[in-house]
Subunit: 214 residues, 2 copies
DNA sequence: CGTAATGTACGAACTAGTGAGTTCACCGTA
DNA sequence: TACGGTGAACTCACTAGTTCGTACATTACG
């Protein structure tokens, strides 16, 4: 017979698959209901396994939540790292970085919600995670290099640092998603309306570049 | 004997005071723990009255939460209305509106947290409140008038509306508070550090004006 | 047979909400 | 002015239903 290691058909015991399955469901549940609102029983039910497995693999609700955060942040960092800033004109590079953040956040509403939830809890779970503490930040590194080059040529103003600019970009991109519902309820406009998407995407990079070159 | 109506010393029965007391405590509890995380028993304990009174005056946890939101939003709207935009140069007026939002949010972290929490719940409580639906928006009105005047004189670009600009300003001002903890945990910088306050306040209005006049 | 993985049933602790009775200020009336 | 009636404001103890976590049994697998 063949198939020795990666078993076929109905494999019932698969540590990695079970873990990933639980994490997928837990991500949705936590992003949807918040940490306190999320129910372990609910997560278990939507999983192909049982509640017992959640405790077996992760230890408890809080550790599961931290594992969800760790996976979500890691995924974003990997995406940021895929942008090659080095071979672009500084202005173009910064526009590109803003657009990448814009696109990424829009495509990952669950991540934005997890970040909001984590802030409600004063980021105490992030602080507790060694994995998240050790994660590099490619987007910020790229911004730093682009800003340096733009300042050397005298095109960019010198009274802001990379973190300031990152803050501006994140503000706009995060707000669109994080405050979507209250904004719509109060002003009657959906910030994610596809009809305004290109306008806002362009507005953000213009905003940053106009400011840097003023 | 004197003191007929407003009794002295130990007044034990005071509808308005009791209601306000409950709302004060509830605001802090909900802002701190979120809707699900907040405990009615906890609110009751920190109040000078009892849990039964919360149900007596507000009906339930959810109605209490809505009452908290209504009071918080009303307070902000009143503040916004106090800004006189009409007699200012359009550019100055917009800078002033940005600064008012900046200052206000910084001074009211509980409000920002309530907004974040409400977004986690898809703004369903705001949508359910008739009071919040009927609230005017002075800041947006002021922005609209200032933008119109700036465009008439040809100084401002014409491809953005007041809500776009309001979105930019809110993004920056809300993000500083709402994402303070994750930002600090990841980048090691407290966005509310007083040392950077003036820099950021100036950066925001420059950002908006440089963009509008580019 | 020993160990890793899995399923089921249960329980201790907690939580929103309520039932029922009490105190207090005020008012009309004798 | 004594007095009983009235309703709002208030207290306390209780309950019905959740929710996280676990003890215990069972199954696959080397």
């Amino acid at each position: 017979m063949a198939a020795p290691s990666s078993s076929e058909a109905e494999r019932q015991r698969d540590k990695d698959r079970t873990r990933a399955d639980i994490l997928d469901v837990a991500t949705r549940e936590f992003a949807d209901k918040g940490y306190t609102g999320a129910r372990v029983d609910e997560i278990a039910e939507r999983t192909s396994t049982t509640k017992r497995m959640i405790y077996y693999y992760f230890g408890g609700k809080e550790q599961l939540y931290i594992a969800v955060l760790e996976r979500a942040y890691s995924a974003i960092r990997a995406l940021e790292a895929s942008v090659d800033v080095e071979h672009l004109d500084p202005e173009v590079a910064i526009r590109r970085l803003a657009e990448v953040t814009f696109d990424h956040h829009e495509a990952n509403p669950d991540f934005i919600r997890l970040v909001s939830i984590e802030n409600i809890h004063h980021a105490k779970h992030i602080a507790r995670s060694e994995i998240l503490a050790g994660l590099a930040n490619p987007a910020l590194d790229g911004l730093t290099r682009a800003l340096d080059r733009g300042r050397e040529s005298g095109r960019f103003r010198a009274d802001v640092d990379a973190l300031d600019i990152h803050q501006v970009i994140s503000s706009f991109c995060v707000f669109r998603l994080a405050n979507r519902h209250t904004f719509a309820a109060i002003f009657g406009r959906d910030m994610l309306d596809p009809a305004r998407r290109e306008h806002h995407r362009r507005m953000l990079s213009d905003l940053v570049i106009d400011y840097l070159t003023s």
